[in-house]
Every structure is written in C-alpha cells, then in structure tokens.
C-alpha cells in the first residue's frame, strides 16, 4: 500500500528525472502546437527549468532504492545529476546563437535532454539492467545529435563512426555482463559484489565490461573514434560529448569498480595503470600535432581522462572525491573553451589554430576567456584546474606505481607546450588579417562570465571540496 508520504518521497527521489522528462514533453507538445514559432520563449523556459534542476542540489537528499531495488538515490547521485544539469544549462547558454539560427533547435534540445535523462538513470542504477538501459539511452540520441549538421559531409561521417563504435562497444559490454550474470546469478550490484568469485570466466566477463567502459570514456586503446567524432559534430554537441557523457560514465565507473569488483582489485589496478600510461602518453603526443581546435581538444581530453584514471588508483572515498572534484572543475574549463570556439566557429566558420593568430587584436574578452580556460586545463596554479590535478595526483599517489606517477608528472610539462601554443597564437603571433570583432548576445556572455568566475574562484573556495569529500565518504563504499 503506497501512502501519500511514500509517494512524495518517490517523487522527490526522482526529481531530476521528472523535471528533465517534463522538459522533453513540453518540447514535444510545443513542436506540435507552434512548430518553430515563439522559440525564444521556449528556450528561456527550458533554460529556467534546467536551472531548477541544477538548484535541486540544495534539496535535502532522499536516500532510497526504488523500482525493485534497481534505482538508487542519495546525496551523491543528487550532486552528480546537478553537475550534469549545469553542463547542459551552460551548453544551452553558450550555443544560443547557433540555436537561434538553426531551424531544428527543438530537436537539438530533445536529443541532448534524452541523453541527459539516460545519464541520470545510469548514475542512479543499482542493477546492471538499469545501467545498460541508461547507457544506451545516453548514447543513441548522441549519435543522432552528432549528425545535426545534416548537409555537412563530416557530420554524417562522425555520426556513422559514433554509432558503429558505440554499438560495437555495447556488444562487448553485454557479453561481459552475460558472463558475470552466469558466474554470480544476479544482476544486482550489491549482491554481485558478494556472489562474484574470481575465476577465469568472471575475469573474462569483467575485462569485457571494463573495455565497454573504456570505450565510452575513450581511454587510449579504445579512443579511435573520439577525435573524428569531435571534429565532425557541431560544437555544442562536441562540448556535450566531451564533458557530460565522459563524466556520467566516469561517475558510474568509479563506484562500480570499488563496489562491485572489489574482489578483482588486482586485475583492474594493473589494467587501469596501463590505460593511464597509454592515455596520457598518446593523448599528449597526438595533441602536439593538431591544427583543428576541436581535434586538439579531443586529444587533450583523452590525456585528461588519463589523469582522471590516476585518481581511481587511490584509496576508496578519497579517490572518488578527488575525481568528482576534478570533473566539477573540468566542467567549467572545458565548456568555456568549447564555448569560445563555438561562438567563433558559428560566426566565421574558422576552427583551426592558425585562424586564431592575432585573435586578441579584435576580441579581447573572448581571448582572455579562452586563454584562462586553457591555463586551467593545463593546470596552472591560480586557476582551479591546478587544484583539481593536484588532488588527483595526491589521491593516486597513495597506491600507484612510482614510475607511473613520474611519467604523469613529466607529461604535465608536455601538455603545457601544446596548451601554450594556442595561447601564443592568440596573443603573440602576428597576423595581417585577424578575425574581425565578434558580437554576441547577453545569454552566452552570462555563461562565459560564470565559467570564468568558477575557474578563477573555485580553487580558493574550500567548502566545495569539503562537501564533495563528505558526500563521497558517506555514500561511496
């Protein structure tokens, strides 16, 4: 018998999912009723509702397991969902111009929000079936969104590569899940952690599942689709792919590895060390030679994934906290960089580093935002990116191989070279005909200022890190 009290609890536990579903239905009905008319009101409404979803982080969290123990909700998932909602809100704000000139803007929101809904279910999953459903709901709409520039050849190529590699990786992941089910007889995370005995079959199943995860976060031997998809997709979709889909899978990856596969820690410790070595090394090497800014950011995000994976090597909740903190900061630095590139590419069509030579002459504000975002990605001290990387390396340093840590630290220097190459092009390189002054509206300006403030101030605001440590201690493992 469901009482009224329980019903409100269920609704509150599902508040993020409900509000995103509400926006999706609103968009569908709006599309049927008004087609593309009044879409500025609609975009304002969607942004306001997304802001509500972000602000849910201050609600008293409800700790519960719903739907036959398939769906868990607690303070940690609430925080993670708000981060992802914030990413969606910022992307929606930063790509305001692009959306205003695009006839299919409602579909853009529909696809990205469905993907966001899938990520929410994936983060909350307490069961492999729910996890798989969330994962697919988050990747299939993204493939359609990658094809958003319907008439561009590169866009359809990118979407083709994304859908084929993601369906291949989910087939691998499913085979792993089926073997794990055969070994343990359950799909429930909490039961599986006890029922799983280390045997060749269960290890094979685990490695396949691991490979599926690594495909989604594009760690190095599984990264081949990343750069092409980033280059071909429209910039807002690339921004969403590079932050939201990586972060959502990362959130689940950390908790699944530590909760479910604690008994196989020796297997995955080695596997992750190899991924870290390859991701940092190859990500950096390829980032050095890129001309296209989106491709450049793709390889830089691969090397960032390597650094995030170092965090997993640390102990329990401290490792988890450092990863959540880094992702929170990475959100602002990454989206600020993509935001500037998106605004420039929407108005001038230029995306390569040589086009940005002398960018500072006419666009002082955008140059500063891009430069500070790149400094934060590189990890230069006053910016928040430094603190993020610092905590990751501290957490990972507890357990990781010494050689690996030295390699990672040395590669930080290499990464400085390619980030600063872009900054040098913007500020120092002479150019006869630099890009003209780029005008942009109020909404993207607010989003850029917000990112800028977060990058500069977050590192000095201690309570956020303490809050993250607190919730990850309480709910991780």
């Amino acid at each position: 018998m469901i009482t009224m009290m329980m019903l409100t609890d269920i609704l509150l536990a599902l508040k993020h999912e409900l509000i995103i579903s509400l926006i999706i239905f609103l968009l569908l009905f709006w599309k049927i009723r008004f087609d593309n008319a009044h879409s500025e009101i609609l975009m304002g409404l969607v942004n306001a509702l997304l802001l509500v979803a972000v602000l849910f982080v201050w609600f008293e969290p409800i700790e519960t397991l719903l739907f036959n123990q398939m769906f868990g909700s607690n303070a940690l998932t609430q925080f993670q969902k708000s981060i992802l909602s914030l990413a969606m809100l910022l992307i929606s704000g930063l790509s305001y111009h692009w959306l205003k000139n695009n006839a299919n803007r409602i579909e853009f929101y529909l696809l990205l929000l469905s993907s966001l809904l899938g990520m929410f279910f994936m983060i909350s999953s307490a069961n492999l079936l729910m996890f798989y459903l969330g994962l697919e709901l988050s990747t299939i709409p993204l493939a359609a969104a990658a094809n958003f520039d319907l008439e561009k050849r590169k866009s359809s190529e990118a979407a083709m590569k994304l859908i084929l590699s993601s369906s291949f990786s989910s087939a691998l992941l499913l085979l792993g899940v089926s073997f794990l089910y055969g070994c343990s007889g359950t799909l429930q995370f909490s039961e599986m952690s006890y029922a799983l005995v280390v045997s060749p079959l269960s290890q094979f199943g685990f490695i396949l599942l691991f490979a599926g995860f690594a495909f989604k976060i594009s760690a190095v031997p599984f990264h081949l689709w990343t750069a092409d998809v980033y280059e071909g997709s429209p910039v807002p979709v690339t921004a969403f792919l590079s932050f939201a889909s990586k972060a959502a899978v990362m959130f689940v990856f950390v908790s699944v590895l530590n909760q479910v596969f604690q008994s196989m820690v020796q297997t995955w410790f080695l596997a992750i060390s190899i991924l870290v070595f390859l991701s940092i090394g190859i990500g950096n090497l390829f980032a050095l030679r890129q001309e296209n800014l989106k491709r450049f950011l793709a390889f830089s995000s691969i090397s960032q994934i390597g650094y995030i994976l170092i965090g997993i090597l640390g102990d329990g909740s401290q490792a988890a906290a450092s990863i959540y903190y880094f992702l929170f900061i990475y959100l602002f630095s990454n989206l600020a960089a993509f935001g500037v590139i998106g605004i420039v590419s929407e108005q001038t069509g230029k995306e390569s580093i040589s086009d940005f030579k002398g960018f500072y002459q006419n666009n002082k504000f955008l140059s500063w935002v891009l430069a500070i975002a790149l400094f934060s990605l590189a990890g230069v001290p006053p910016t928040a990116g430094f603190f993020g990387k610092f905590f990751l390396l501290i957490a990972g340093g507890a357990n990781a191989y010494l050689g690996l840590m030295i390699f990672a630290a040395l590669n930080l220097v290499v990464s400085f070279y390619y980030y600063l190459r872009v900054v040098k092009a913007i500020f120092m390189d002479a150019n006869e005909s630099p890009l003209p002054k780029i005008e942009f509206d109020f909404t993207p300006k607010i989003a850029l200022y917000f990112c800028l403030a977060a990058i500069l101030l977050l590192g000095f605001y201690g309570p956020i890190y303490e809050h993250i440590v607190h919730i990850s201690k309480a709910y991780s493992f």
Binding site: Y132, A143, L150, S156, M160, L175, S178, G182, G185, L187
Partner: protein, 104 residues
C-alpha cells in the same frame, strides 16, 4: 545420445559472437556492419537465456535482459539506418572506405 547442455549452447553463442566480430572488422558495407553487430547482440541473448534456464531457473533476470536487449537493438538499428541514409545522401555510397575524410 548426448543431451544438449550449457556447454554446447555457450560454444554456439561464443562462435556467433566472434563470427559477428569478424564480420565487423572485415566487411566494408555499412549495412553489413550493422548486421554483424546484431549477430553479436543475439549471441549475448543466447548466453542470457541459457544461463537463466540451466543455472538460475528460479528467477527470470536473464529473460528480462533479453527483452531489453532486443528492444534496444531495434532502437539502435533505427538510428543507425537513419544515419546511413543521410551518409548516402552526402557521399553517394555506403562503403566505409568512402567516408574517411577525417584521419589522425
């Protein structure tokens, strides 16, 4: 007369999976690639059904998983075919080799 056991079915499903994977790596036609992926997914279906029937017949977890895999595979194929149709419009071909403008 040997009765069919779990091992036989697992061998069948593993063979199917790797036939699918072989097809995925060697074929160049996008529709065939999609078919190869379906083959891999179906082999996983066999796995789930077999484990459920032989090892854990008291609960229906594996069968439920089958239902969802089939549904999602259909959704995935729908999106993939839409993408392939659009690729055909821009490239006039559905061969993977022809869609290789972006490299390295």
């Amino acid at each position: 007369m040997i009765s069919v056991g779990l091992t036989h079915i697992l061998i069948l499903s593993t063979c199917l999976f790797f036939i699918g994977m072989y097809g995925f790596f060697t074929r160049r036609n996008l529709i065939t690639l999609l078919m190869s992926v379906e083959l891999m997914l179906n082999s996983v279906n066999i796995n789930f059904a077999a484990f459920n029937k032989y090892l854990f017949p008291e609960k229906l977890d594996g069968i439920f998983f089958n239902v969802f895999i089939i549904t999602i595979a259909a959704a995935e194929a729908a999106v993939a075919i839409a993408i392939i149709i659009n690729l055909y419009r821009s490239h006039n071909s559905i061969d993977v080799e022809d869609a290789g403008e972006m490299k390295y």
